[in-house]
């Protein structure tokens, strides 16, 4: 059967549409009250919702692009004992690498420089074709008893 690669059509322009699983995940995240970060298959930031802006210390619209390496350097995650955490051990990367949910409790700096204790659960987004497209990371700030429930910061 005559089935050949199509190099020209494989490069369909400079605007690459995201996979629908990521589009739907972003739409879901944008409607949730819990902080959510969406990353692509190499960990680059695709989206975070308004509640997550409080944790990251910056609005999404203020950030042009936030590749994984830069985000990891800025957030400088630490264990609860204050030890640096290798970026690849953060829940989003672990979830994609192991293709199973991952959870961690740690501290990280917001883009505003404030160190915050957080919990994060990441779920890998795997397409029907078996490709890992990214991860959706739900975050919680560790509850400060002096603040009302739901307050991040």
């Amino acid at each position: 059967m005559d089935v050949l690669p199509l190099p020209k059509e494989a490069r369909m322009g400079d605007v690459a549409q995201q996979a629908i699983e990521l589009i739907l995940a972003r739409q879901l995240a944008s409607g949730l009250a819990v902080p959510v970060l969406l990353v692509d298959a190499i960990g680059d930031t695709l989206f975070f919702n308004e509640p997550a802006e409080l944790i990251f210390g910056r609005r999404l619209d203020e950030i042009d692009a936030l590749p994984f390496d830069r985000r990891a350097a800025l957030l400088a995650p630490l264990s609860m004992d204050g030890e640096p955490i290798p970026p690849e051990e953060l829940p989003g990367m672990a979830a994609m690498r192991n293709r199973r949910p991952a959870h961690a409790v740690f501290q990280m700096h917001g883009l505003d420089g404030v160190l915050r204790p957080v919990e994060a659960t990441a779920i890998p987004l795997e397409s029907t074709g078996g490709r890992v497209l990214g991860a959706i990371v739900v975050l919680w700030t560790q509850r400060d008893p002096s603040r009302p429930p739901g307050a991040a910061g």
Partner: protein
């Protein structure tokens, strides 16, 4: 590229005097002009007529299924080339993580739902999951990509020379948030810059509000994605079975008023489009 629309209705066949002009057959489009093979998009009840047109000419036929809902496969068992001994027929469909295409299709093409099994047909039938990368079928370039609709569903982009069409008959891009950002719009890569976009326009805006999540678009949404993608001509397809010809006329008028740059046509059974 020559497109013959054999079925333009969505959900369920709806023959009758109220639908006589646009037709009542469900999704099936023949894509022709290649002496080496023929393409057929979806296998709804319009496929019986496509089969009569393609019977006996001996060319391999590639059937591209967007998904396996009944209105897109019900005509398969009535496609005459499938009963021609030795006729080469390829059926392409979206992959699933659980069952292969043959297993899913034979749930319908086997007793008790249908009297004949695929293996009992005269034609040489091969089934394929659509590949993740574009591929070539005869002279046609074909690209498949997942689009928003319940269950595994693909849309198609087909090119022949400089001509390009996109076929997304079951598509609810609004569920992903129609923000006007191409990279966050379901189906954009398939639709971008095509000459003809055959797109789901099942509902009026009022109907859509009652049916969010059912997997289909309003006229407004179809026009929005056509404009965003820069499609020259939008062909409204997958008509709501309860819509009479008069209602589709009204929806077409509304679509033409909303369109910012490009033509709009309503698909009808028997319509031929030259691209």
């Amino acid at each position: 590229m020559k497109l013959t629309i054999w079925g333009s209705r969505g959900s369920i066949a709806s023959p009758g005097p109220e639908t006589a002009r646009y037709g009542g057959n469900t999704a099936c489009i023949e894509v022709n002009d290649d002496p080496r093979c023929a393409l057929v998009l979806d296998a709804g009840t319009g496929m019986r007529l496509a089969g009569l047109a393609l019977a006996g000419d001996g060319r391999p036929i590639h059937i591209l299924l967007t998904h396996l809902h009944l209105d897109h496969i019900q005509g398969l068992g009535f496609f005459r080339p499938l009963f021609e001994p030795g006729r080469e027929i390829h059926i392409w469909g979206p992959p699933s993580t659980t069952l292969d295409l043959r297993t899913r299709l034979t749930r319908y093409l086997s007793p008790p739902l249908f009297p004949v099994r695929i293996r009992e047909l005269g034609a040489r039938v091969e089934l394929h999951d659509v590949p993740a990368r574009p591929w070539r079928v005869g002279e046609f370039g074909v690209t498949a990509d997942s689009v928003i609709h319940p269950g595994p569903t693909t849309g198609y982009r087909i090119t022949l020379g400089d001509a390009a069409i996109a076929y997304l008959p079951d598509h609810e891009p609004a569920l992903g948030g129609l923000s006007g950002q191409p990279d966050w719009t379901s189906g954009y890569d398939l639709m971008r810059g095509v000459d003809v976009l055959l797109h789901d326009a099942q509902y009026t805006s009022d109907e859509y509000r009652q049916r969010v999540g059912w997997g289909h678009s309003s006229v407004e949404h179809a026009v929005a994605v056509a404009d965003l993608a820069g499609a020259d001509r939008l062909v409204m397809i997958h008509h709501e079975p309860d819509h009479s010809d008069a209602v589709i006329d009204e929806m077409l008028t509304e679509a033409r008023q909303m369109r910012r740059g490009g033509e709009v046509t309503a698909a009808g059974d028997g319509l031929i489009l030259e691209v």
